[in-house]
C-alpha cells in the first residue's frame, strides 16, 4: 500500500506501478483535477504541488512537478494540492491575493502558480519574501497570458494576511517495498542486495530525468530502485579539505554550501532547472546521466572533483575525469552505483569562474558553459589552471590544450587569443536545437575573453545583473 497524507488527511491506496506519477495518481485515480498537465516533462509548472516534510526547524514545503514525481515517493509525506488550500468559502491568502491582483487569465497555469506561492508563503526556511525570492519561486511556472506582473504583485501582497496551517494527520504505517517493482532500500546494504538481485533495475533519486522515459517515452518500468530513503546517501559529510556529497542530496540542500564557498557555482545552480527541479534533482544524478549538456559536470571537472562508486564488489574512488567514458556513458559497471561526490574545499587564492549561456536566463538548458579555475599569483599569472566547457563535446571533458597554454601565463592578448583558438582543438561542437557549432566556439572563446576582462579590468561593468535602467 502507498500511505501518505493528502491535504491534511491520511490516505492509503494500492501501490501504483513504478512509472505512475503523482499527477496521474491525482488526476486519474483520485480524480482530483485541480493540478493540470501542461507538458508532462517538468518544464511548465502547471502541475506544481507542495510536498511537506518535517524538519528540526519546522515543515519544509517544497514545490514539485507532480508530472514527473513518482507517486511511490509520496510515502509518509504530506502532499498539498490546490484543492487543499481554501477553508470552505475562505480563500487562502495566496489565492485571495491572486484574485485581488487579477493574476489569472485563462487559469490553466494558475493552480501551479498558487502552489509555488504557497510554498513561498509557508516554507519555514523562507524568512523574507523579496522580489528575488518571488522570481526564484516562480521561475518554473510558465504563464502565457498575464505577463507575470500581477502574479508578482500578488506574491508581494499575500503575506499581509496570516494563515496558520493546521497540523496534518500522520499517515498510517504501511508496508512499503517491492510493490509492483518499486524497491525502496533503507540502507546501503539493502541497496547492494537489491542491485545484485535486480541488475537491470533503474535507479531513481529525484527522478527528474528518468521519469521522462515514462511520461514522454511511454516506457513502462519493470523494476526501479529508489535511493531517496537511504540515510547515508542523504548526507553532506564535511571534512577539512572538502565535502562528500551523498548521491541522494538534492540541489536545494547544496545551495547554502555553494553560496558560502563557491558563489559562481551557486549562481549557476540558481539557473539549473527551476525551483521545482532543484527541490527534487541531485548532483549525483546530473553526473550519472553523463549528459553533454549537464550543468554541473564542467564545474566539477574544473574543481578536480572525485566520485565514490559502490557495489557488490566493494567501493572504488576515481577522478571525475575518468568517470565519463563516452556520450551518456560512465565508468559505472553493472550492479554499481554512484555513492557520493567529492567536492574539494577552495584553496587560498583559488578562483572559480563559471558562465552559462542559454536562450533564456531561467530554467533553460545550456548552449555553452565555461568553467575556469586557477590560482593567481602576485604578478597576475595563472596557476593550476582547469578549464572545462559544457555543450561542446559528446561527453563532459576538460580542455587540455587550452589549459596548457594558460598555465603559468598572464591572460594577456597573445596568450588569450591562442587559448581561445585552442578551444577549437579541444572541442568540436555540433549544430543542434540550442545553438550552432560556430556560435558555440565563438561564444566559448568570448567567455574566456570575458574572464580576462574581469580579471584585469575589474572597473569595467560587464555584468548585466549589475545594470539598472537609466534614471529619469
Amino acid at each position: 500500500m502507498l500511505s501518505f497524507t493528502l491535504n491534511g488527511r491520511s490516505h492509503c491506496c494500492p501501490d501504483p506501478a513504478p512509472g505512475v506519477t503523482v499527477l496521474a495518481l491525482l488526476r486519474e485515480t483520485l480524480r482530483a483535477c485541480g493540478s493540470k498537465e501542461g507538458c508532462a516533462s517538468g518544464d511548465c509548472g502547471a502541475c506544481t504541488v507542495a510536498i511537506g516534510v518535517q524538519h528540526e526547524d519546522g515543515v519544509h514545503y517544497e514545490s514539485a512537478n507532480a508530472c514527473i514525481t513518482p507517486a511511490q515517493q509520496l510515502t509518509g509525506c504530506h502532499l498539498v494540492t490546490v484543492e487543499g488550500l481554501a477553508r470552505g468559502a475562505r480563500l487562502h491568502p495566496v489565492q485571495q491575493a491572486m484574485v485581488d491582483h487579477h493574476a489569472s487569465q485563462c487559469g490553466f497555469c494558475t493552480p501551479g502558480i498558487v502552489m509555488s506561492l504557497f510554498c513561498l508563503y509557508h516554507d519555514a526556511r523562507i524568512r523574507k519574501i523579496d522580489d528575488h525570492a518571488i522570481d526564484t519561486a516562480l521561475e518554473g511556472n510558465l504563464c502565457r497570458c498575464t505577463g507575470y506582473r500581477p502574479i508578482r504583485d500578488a506574491a508581494r501582497a499575500m503575506r499581509a494576511v496570516e494563515w496558520p496551517l493546521e497540523p496534518p494527520e500522520t499517515p498510517p504505517a504501511a508496508p512499503h517495498d517491492s510493490g509492483g517493482g518499486w524497491h525502496c532500500p533503507a540502507d546501503l546494504a539493502a541497496l547492494r542486495g537489491a542491485l545484485a538481485e535486480h541488475p537491470e533495475a533503474r535507479l531513481i533519486a529525484g527522478g527528474t530525468d528518468l521519469m521522462l522515459e515514462s511520461t514522454l517515452g511511454l516506457v513502462d518500468f519493470e523494476t526501479v530502485i529508489d535511493l531517496s530513503r537511504i540515510a547515508e546517501l542523504g548526507r553532506i559529510e564535511a571534512q577539512p579539505d572538502g565535502w562528500w556529497i551523498g548521491a541522494g542530496v538534492r540541489y536545494a540542500r547544496l545551495e547554502p554550501l555553494l553560496d558560502e564557498h563557491y558563489p559562481d557555482f551557486a549562481a549557476l545552480l540558481a539557473r539549473l532547472g527551476s525551483r521545482q527541479i532543484r527541490n527534487r534533482a541531485t548532483l549525483a544524478g546530473n553526473l550519472a546521466n553523463a549528459s553533454p549538456i549537464g550543468d554541473t559536470p564542467p564545474v566539477l571537472l574544473a574543481l578536480d572533483a572525485r566520485v565514490l562508486i559502490d557495489g557488490a564488489d566493494g567501493e572504488r574512488e576515481m577522478a571525475l575525469t575518468d568517470f565519463f567514458i563516452d556520450y551518456r556513458r560512465t565508468a559505472l559497471a553493472a550492479g554499481e552505483f554512484l555513492r557520493a561526490v567529492w567536492l574539494p574545499r577552495p584553496a587560498p587564492g583559488q578562483h572559480l569562474r563559471v558562465h552559462k549561456l542559454s536562450r533564456r536566463p531561467a530554467d533553460d538548458i545550456t548552449a555553452v558553459l565555461l568553467a575556469l579555475r586557477y590560482r593567481l599569483d602576485d604578478a597576475g599569472h595563472l596557476h593550476e589552471v582547469r578549464l572545462a566547457c559544457g555543450g561542446m563535446s559528446p561527453k563532459p571533458q576538460r580542455a587540455p590544450t587550452c589549459e596548457a597554454l594558460l598555465e603559468g601565463q598572464r591572460l594577456a592578448a597573445e596568450t588569450l587569443e591562442a587559448a581561445c583558438a585552442a578551444l577549437a582543438e579541444d572541442y568540436s561542437p555540433i549544430d543542434d536545437v540550442r545553438g550552432s557549432r560556430d556560435y558555440r566556439l565563438n561564444a566559448a572563446a568570448n567567455l574566456l575573453r570575458r574572464h580576462a576582462l574581469q580579471l584585469y579590468q575589474p572597473q569595467a561593468t560587464i555584468r548585466l545583473e549589475e545594470i539598472d535602467a537609466c534614471a529619469s
Binding site: 487579477h102 490553466f108 505577463g147 511511454l218 570575458r450 576582462l453 529619469s472
Partner: protein
C-alpha cells in the same frame, strides 16, 4: 401556478467582492485559484470513455505505400483503429479552402500529420498502440524553403498587391490596379527620384502558441444519432460544421460546446476542429464517448504556428527622413495548406505601413507552400510580421542620415493631410502623435538617450539600447462576413440573469466584460448575472473569437438583447403601474419611475405573471466596412487601435545575452470597459511579443521535423524575463470615435506589437558598436546567438571602415 422561488444569495458567478466595476475580476478567478474551474480534461468522464491517439507521419512529404494495423489492434486496451477509409463524409477539415485531410490518405505532407487514429481505454494505451502502427513510405521531394517555393510557384494561394500613387490622398480618387501593370514603373521612378534609396531584407521567425492547455476535444453520443462535442476551440460553430461534414450529418445533429480554454491565442481558431472531428469519428465508430487530448510534443509538431515571414523592402526618402515611396514584399511561410493563410498575409499587408504614411507605395503578399504543419492564426494574425519591415526601415533611414530613429518615426507618422493608407482607408483620427508626445515626455526619452550614448562610449562590453515604436492596428475581421455576433439573454423569475453569446472565453476576460454590459444596462450588480458555456444550439452560426473583436461584437449583441428586454419591461411597467414610459429606468436592482420604485425581482415576477417574454436574442453586424480584393482598396477596418512603447535594453556584446531594463507603454483602449482586464491584455500581449521576438525559436532539421517540440527546447518568457521596470498606462480622454460598446476599443491583439520596441532597442544597442553610423540587420527571434553574430558583424564592419557585404540595409548605388 407553482410558487416562484426567492433568489438565493450567491457571489460566485460573475461576482466581485472588490468591485469598483471598472476593475471587476475575471468571472472565473475564484475557480482558477482553487482549481475548481474545469477544463475539458478535468470533467467527470462518461462511462466507457475511450481515449484517442494518432500515428503520425515521420516524413515531410511521402507516399504511403503500405499500412499494417494488426499490432496496434491487438495492443492492450485497444478498442478500435481508424484510417481515412473509415470516414463516412468528407475527409476534409480545412477552415476556408480545402486541403486539410482529417487523416492522411495516400500522401503525407508534413512531419506530424495524423494518419491513423487509435482508440483505447487509457491515453497511455492509445499512445503505446499508436506507436505500433506500421506504415511504409516512399519519400518524395519536400518543399522546406519558402523563398525557393515562391521562385518555383509553390503557393497555397495566389499573390496579392496593394498599390497607391503618391499623389492620391483619398479613397474617392482610388484607382484599381491589377497584377503586372505599368504603374510599378511609376513606383520605380518615384523611388529612383528620391534623394536616398535604401533596401533591406529580414527573416521574422514563427511562434508556437504554447497555450498551457493543449488541444483537446471530448465527443459523446447525443440524442437521435447526434453528437455533442466539448471542444477547446475559439470557433465552436466551425467545429460543429466540420464534425457534421466529416460524419455526413446535418448541422442540427451536432452540438459544440466551449466553457473555457486554457489559452488560445489563435491556435484554437481553425485547428481545434480536427480534434473534435476525430473524436466524433471515434464516437460514430464505437458508440462510446471519445476524448482526444494531444500530448505537448504531438501538439507542437502537428499544429500550425505563427507564420514565419521573409520580408524585403525598398524605401525612398528625402534628407529629412520623410518617405517618398516604399516597395514592400512580404512572403509568408504558410505550411502545407491554405488554412487561414490568405487572411494572415492580407493582414500583414494591411499593416505594412504600421503608423506611417508610406507615400507612393506597393505592398505585395506571397503565400509560400512548405511541407510543414499548416501555419495559422496567432494574436496579430500577420499584422506583427507585416510591421517589421517598415520599422526596420525607419531605423535604417535614421542611421543613414545620422538622426535619432524616433525623429524619423515621428516625421513619418500619419497626420491630418497624410492620413490615407496604401489600401485607401482614411486613418481618422490619427491618435499616434498624441500618444508619442505623451510617452516621449513621461518616459524621459531624450535624457535617457543622452545618458545611454554616454554610457556606451565608455562601456567596452555591455551596450545599452533605447527605442520607441508605435502601433496602429486595424480592428475588424478582414473577411467581412465574420463581423457579426449573436446573443441570448434570459431573465428568470428569481431575478437572476443568464447570458449566452457567440464568443468564447480563453482567458481574455470576454465573459466578464459581457456580464458587465448586461449588469450595467439592467441596473444589477454583477453577482446577479451569470454566463454559461458557449453552445452552438444556444447561439448559432457564430464567428470565431478572434481579431480582437470578441467584446466589440458580442458585447454589442448582448447590449441589443438586453435593450430588447428592458424595452419589454418598460412597456409592461408603464401599463401595469400606470406611469409614464419615458420616465422609467433600471438602477440599483430597481425599476424607477415618476413616483415608482419596484424591486427587480418583483418586477420580473409581475412581468412573468403578465406573460411578458423574458428571453431575447440580440444581433450585431459591424457597419461601414468593405474591401475590394481585386483593386486592393477599401475600408476593411471599422477603426484603429493605437499604442506606443519605449524599451531600454542592456546587451552583452561578447555573449549576446541581454536584459530588458525598463518598458513604458501608453496604449489606446478608447473608454475602457474594464481597466484591470485591459491592462492584463496589454502586459500579457507585450510579454508574448517579447517572447516571439527574442527567445522563442522554432528549430527544424533538414528533413522538416520540428526539433523544438516542448518547453525544454522552446522557451517562452518566464517571470525573470519581464521588464525590471514596467510602466503601463491607458490613454485617457480619447473615447472611440466610432459607436462601439461604450466607446471602448478592442485590446486583444494590438499590444503584442508594442514588443517591437524591444527588438528595436536591441538594434539600437548593436548600432552603438558602429558609433550609430550604420544599421545592423537583426533577424528574429533575436536569440543570444543571433545577437552575438550581429555584434561580431558590426564590430568587423566598423573595423573594416566600410559597408559590410550582405548585411542589410545597403544604400542602393545610383
Amino acid at each position: 401556478m407553482r410558487q416562484l422561488i426567492q433568489p438565493p444569495s450567491r457571489d460566485n458567478s460573475c461576482a466581485s467582492q472588490t468591485d469598483p466595476e471598472r476593475a471587476a475580476p475575471h468571472d472565473s478567478a475564484s475557480g482558477h485559484v482553487t482549481g475548481s474551474a474545469r477544463y475539458i480534461d478535468d470533467l467527470i468522464e462518461p462511462q466507457g470513455l475511450l481515449h484517442l491517439a494518432v500515428a503520425i507521419s515521420p516524413h515531410a512529404h511521402a507516399r504511403i505505400t503500405a499500412m499494417t494495423l494488426d499490432a496496434a489492434r491487438h495492443a492492450p486496451g485497444v478498442a478500435a483503429v481508424l484510417t481515412a477509409a473509415d470516414i463516412p463524409g468528407h475527409n476534409e477539415v480545412g477552415a476556408v479552402y480545402p486541403g486539410d485531410p482529417l487523416l492522411a490518405d495516400g500522401e503525407v505532407r508534413y512531419v506530424g500529420q495524423p494518419i491513423v487514429a487509435v482508440l483505447a481505454d487509457s491515453q497511455r494505451h492509445a499512445r503505446q498502440a499508436a506507436a505500433r502502427v506500421e506504415i511504409e513510405f516512399e519519400t518524395l521531394p519536400a518543399s522546406l524553403d519558402p523563398l525557393k517555393a515562391i521562385a518555383e510557384g509553390l503557393t497555397v494561394r495566389p499573390a496579392h498587391s496593394q498599390r497607391r500613387a503618391h499623389d492620391e490622398p483619398s479613397l474617392e480618387r482610388g484607382r484599381a490596379f491589377t497584377e503586372n501593370v505599368q504603374e510599378s514603373g511609376d513606383l520605380d521612378a518615384e523611388l529612383a527620384a528620391a534623394p536616398h534609396l535604401l533596401e533591406g531584407r529580414q527573416f521574422i521567425g514563427g511562434q508556437e502558441h504554447f497555450y498551457l492547455e493543449g488541444q483537446i476535444a471530448l465527443a459523446e453520443p447525443w440524442e437521435d444519432d447526434g453528437i455533442r462535442v466539448l471542444t477547446s476551440s475559439q470557433h465552436p460553430s466551425e467545429v460543429q460544421k466540420i464534425v457534421a461534414e466529416v460524419l455526413g450529418l446535418p448541422l442540427h445533429a451536432i452540438v459544440a460546446e466551449v466553457r473555457r480554454m486554457g489559452g488560445g491565442f489563435g491556435g484554437k481558431e481553425s485547428q481545434a476542429a480536427a480534434l473534435g472531428a476525430l473524436a466524433a469519428l471515434g464516437v460514430q465508430a464505437t458508440g462510446r464517448a471519445v476524448k482526444y487530448r494531444m500530448p505537448r510534443a504531438i501538439d507542437m509538431q502537428g499544429t500550425g504556428k505563427r507564420h514565419p515571414f521573409h520580408n524585403r523592402w525598398r524605401v525612398g526618402f528625402d534628407d529629412s527622413g520623410l518617405l517618398r515611396g516604399g516597395d514592400i514584399e512580404l512572403i509568408g511561410d504558410c505550411g502545407y495548406s491554405p488554412d487561414l493563410s490568405e487572411g494572415v498575409v492580407d493582414r500583414a499587408m494591411f499593416h505594412a505601413d504600421n503608423a506611417y504614411y508610406l507615400g507612393h507605395a506597393r505592398v505585395t503578399g506571397h503565400r509560400a507552400m512548405t511541407h510543414t504543419a499548416s501555419n495559422t492564426a496567432f494574436r496579430g494574425f500577420g499584422g506583427p510580421q507585416g510591421m517589421m519591415p517598415i520599422e526596420a526601415a525607419m531605423e535604417d533611414i535614421a542611421r543613414h542620415l545620422g538622426m535619432d530613429p524616433l525623429d524619423v518615426r515621428k516625421r513619418n507618422l500619419y497626420r491630418p493631410g497624410r492620413d490615407t493608407t496604401h489600401y485607401g482607408q482614411r486613418v481618422a483620427p490619427p491618435l499616434i502623435e498624441t500618444i508619442i508626445e505623451q510617452l516621449e515626455t513621461s518616459s524621459d526619452y531624450r535624457a535617457r538617450r543622452r545618458a545611454i550614448t554616454a554610457f556606451n562610449a565608455e562601456s567596452p562590453v555591455v551596450k545599452r539600447g533605447l527605442a520607441l515604436t508605435p502601433v496602429k492596428f486595424g480592428i475588424s475581421f478582414t473577411a467581412q462576413h465574420l463581423n457579426q455576433a449573436g446573443a441570448l439573454v434570459q431573465l428568470y423569475t428569481d431575478g437572476s440573469v443568464l447570458l449566452n453569446h457567440g464568443g468564447t472565453e480563453m482567458g481574455q476576460g470576454l465573459h466578464t466584460r459581457v456580464c458587465q454590459i448586461a449588469a450595467r444596462e439592467l441596473g444589477l450588480p454583477l453577482s446577479r448575472v451569470r454566463i454559461s458555456a458557449t453552445r452552438t444550439d444556444k447561439v448559432p452560426n457564430t464567428s470565431p473569437t478572434a481579431a480582437s473583436s470578441g467584446a466589440d461584437l458580442n458585447g454589442m449583441a448582448v447590449f441589443e438583447a438586453v435593450t430588447t428586454l428592458a424595452t419589454r419591461l418598460f412597456d409592461f411597467a408603464a401599463e401595469h403601474y400606470g406611469v409614464a414610459r419615458d420616465s422609467l429606468t433600471l438602477a440599483d436592482e430597481k425599476l424607477l419611475g415618476k413616483g415608482l420604485e419596484i424591486g427587480w425581482d418583483e418586477l420580473l415576477r409581475q412581468a412573468y405573471l403578465a406573460r411578458v417574454s423574458l428571453s431575447a436574442t440580440g444581433f450585431y453586424a459591424t457597419p461601414e466596412i468593405h474591401y475590394d480584393r481585386d483593386s486592393g482598396r477599401g475600408q476593411p477596418f471599422y477603426y484603429y487601435a493605437w499604442g506606443a512603447a519605449v524599451s531600454e535594453v542592456a546587451l552583452d556584446t561578447l555573449t549576446g545575452e541581454h536584459r530588458l531594463l525598463r518598458v513604458d507603454i501608453l496604449h489606446d483602449v478608447g473608454d475602457s470597459l474594464n481597466e484591470a482586464i485591459d491592462r492584463g491584455q496589454i502586459e500579457g500581449g507585450f510579454v508574448q511579443g517579447l517572447g516571439w521576438l527574442t527567445s522563442e525559436s522554432l528549430a527544424r532539421n533538414d528533413a522538416g521535423r520540428l526539433l523544438s517540440d516542448g518547453p525544454a527546447t522552446y522557451k517562452i518568457p518566464t517571470c525573470n524575463d519581464i521588464p525590471q521596470d514596467f510602466r503601463v498606462a491607458l490613454l485617457t480622454g480619447h473615447p472611440n470615435s466610432k459607436a462601439t460598446i461604450y466607446r471602448s476599443k478592442a485590446v486583444g491583439e494590438p499590444p503584442l506589437m508594442l514588443a517591437i520596441s524591444v527588438w528595436a532597442a536591441l538594434r539600437d544597442a548593436l548600432a552603438s558598436l558602429g558609433d550609430y553610423r550604420f544599421s545592423v540587420a537583426l533577424d528574429t527571434p533575436a536569440t543570444p546567438e543571433r545577437l552575438l553574430t550581429a555584434a561580431t558583424a558590426a564590430r568587423r564592419r566598423r573595423a573594416a571602415g566600410e559597408a559590410a557585404p550582405q548585411t542589410s540595409p545597403t544604400e542602393v548605388s545610383k
